[in-house]
């Protein structure tokens, strides 16, 4: 094949590194915008907004396709990076006894492989904590809310007035947008009564007819809030690990963003200084915003 150079040559490997890297930058922006909902709205409103967003991300066809493209881009970026690093190590079998690389290059630019590996470690834990639960084991509870409702228990025969009694009712948020009454608990007798069945962990079925009446939202919001909750003994470690990982990501982007344009051949006296400035801003702002989210959650609890 005449175009096999597009896969084999050292320059082509750099194209793939650059293209996947820039694509992953757009993924970061998307992910960040989603995460920011965790701090911009509070209470039940915030919880609902985030879980609805998570549901949308998990069910929209376009997003699904995009998520597979992201997995593939990540794998190519990592594998290509490992292949390049091995070749680069081979190119200098005997190291210098005395070397002064600080004199001619930035720290981030010389440590992209190490920074990338650290990010991969972070990604593995990050996915185990959130993605694995959400997508694979579905351990995540449904979005539920216990409300105390005045329940009619009878009618006053003398006045004809309804007699009510405060009763705890567990509601599940239905994907049709309503809070559906699920379990009714009489606080005086402690008796519980289920109003519908849940199958496949999130589908609601009518008890008598067996007809599907809706679907619940997974409560990813609570999973995140509990993970970074001060009362949770591992939360401090979780927050610190997250913040440090974002600093590592920042360093990786500090070199990676502008470098990708150079690899693709985009170097121009007019635009390169602008690209470099955007890269610096991107590498500071994006990891910073990611990092403050768990910090704010930790402090607010």
């Amino acid at each position: 094949m005449s175009n096999s150079v597009l896969f084999k040559s050292s320059i082509a490997k750099k194209y793939f590194m650059a293209l996947t890297g820039l694509f992953l930058c757009t993924f970061l922006v998307g992910h960040l915008l989603g995460n920011l909902q965790l701090i911009f709205k509070t209470g039940e409103e915030g919880r609902r907004a985030f879980n609805e967003y998570a549901y949308f991300m998990g069910h929209n066809v376009f997003i699904k396709v995009l998520s597979y493209v992201t997995y593939i881009a990540l794998i190519i970026h990592a594998v290509d990076g490992i292949m390049l690093t091995i070749q680069n190590k081979k190119a200098r079998p005997v190291k210098y006894a005395y070397n002064n690389p600080k004199a001619n290059s930035g720290t981030a630019s010389r440590n992209m492989a190490i920074l990338g590996t650290l990010i991969l470690v972070f990604l593995a834990t990050h996915m185990a904590n959130f993605w694995w639960k959400a997508k694979i084991t579905e351990e995540i509870p449904l979005h539920s809310l216990v409300k105390t409702v005045d329940y009619p228990v009878g009618q006053n025969p003398a006045t004809g007035e309804m007699i009510t009694k405060p009763i705890e009712v567990t509601h599940y948020l239905n994907t049709n947008g309503t809070y559906q009454q699920f379990k009714v608990k009489d606080p005086s007798t402690g008796q519980e009564q289920k109003l519908f069945d849940i199958k496949n962990k999130h589908e609601f079925y009518d008890i008598t007819s067996g007809v599907k009446i809706g679907e619940g939202y997974k409560d990813l919001h609570t999973v995140v809030m509990t993970f970074f909750d001060k009362n949770n003994s591992s939360a401090l470690f979780g927050v610190l690990f997250y913040v440090i990982s974002m600093i590592v990501l920042g360093y990786h982007l500090w070199h990676g963003f502008a470098s990708a344009f150079q690899s693709l051949g985009l170097n121009h006296p007019l635009y390169t200084p602008i690209i470099k400035k955007i890269g610096m801003a991107f590498s500071i702002v994006v990891p910073f915003l990611f990092a403050i989210i768990p910090v704010i959650i930790y402090m607010n609890h």
Partner: protein, 254 residues
Amino acid sequence: MASKFINITLKIWRQKNSNAKGALETYSLNDVSTDSSFLEMLDQLNEQLINEKQSPITFDHDCREGICGMCSLYINGRAHGPDSGNTTCQLHMRKFKDGDTIYVEPWRSRAFPIIKDLMVDRSAFDRIQQAGGFVSVNTSGRTMDANAIPIAKADADKAFQAAACIGCGACVASCKNGSAMLFVGAKVSQYALLPQGKIEATDRVLNMVRQMDEEGFGNCTNTGACEIECPKGISIENIARMNREFLKGALTKS
């Protein structure tokens, strides 16, 4: 400025031949004039070694005025020593202080095997040049005058800047990946910018990059070390141009 004399300690890589195992040897050298160049200092050391009936240190040198590209040497952790924009022959001992210890090593690259001591075999660069670093011209006696073709000033300047490369190999030596992309980028650019070079542009870039990879050089990670250490100040803009030319070439080659 009055000349001074300094005493220095040198740690120099000695290696009998390409297969031998090398090591850093320590030498003391007294009364080195600060006006002497780094290579003259090595000459002085070799004289001392010969007088002591020891084998002199082998190192590359030729014009000693910064244009031939023969001198090399990785001095105190940097290609061509502590300054930027100079070759080793243009480095003077006034850059060092009395009592300094100076490390001198050969270029370290799989593609530049050591011949002896500080001398490395840079014929990998020649083979890259032979793979495409030329323009084919009919020399039957009716050769066209190159200057008859108008060239935009900006392009001519850029081509000339790229052509300033002397092929010394400092880019490979200072690159953490041992990559030759600044050299190849300069050689590709110098022709790609000129009308005479455009005819063979596709084959040139593909062949030169293929040869570069075959020689065992590393990949570019855009650290920018090469352009800082290049004695001729060749910009990594030339690497970007090569990357563009390569993509164009790889996509359009039939």
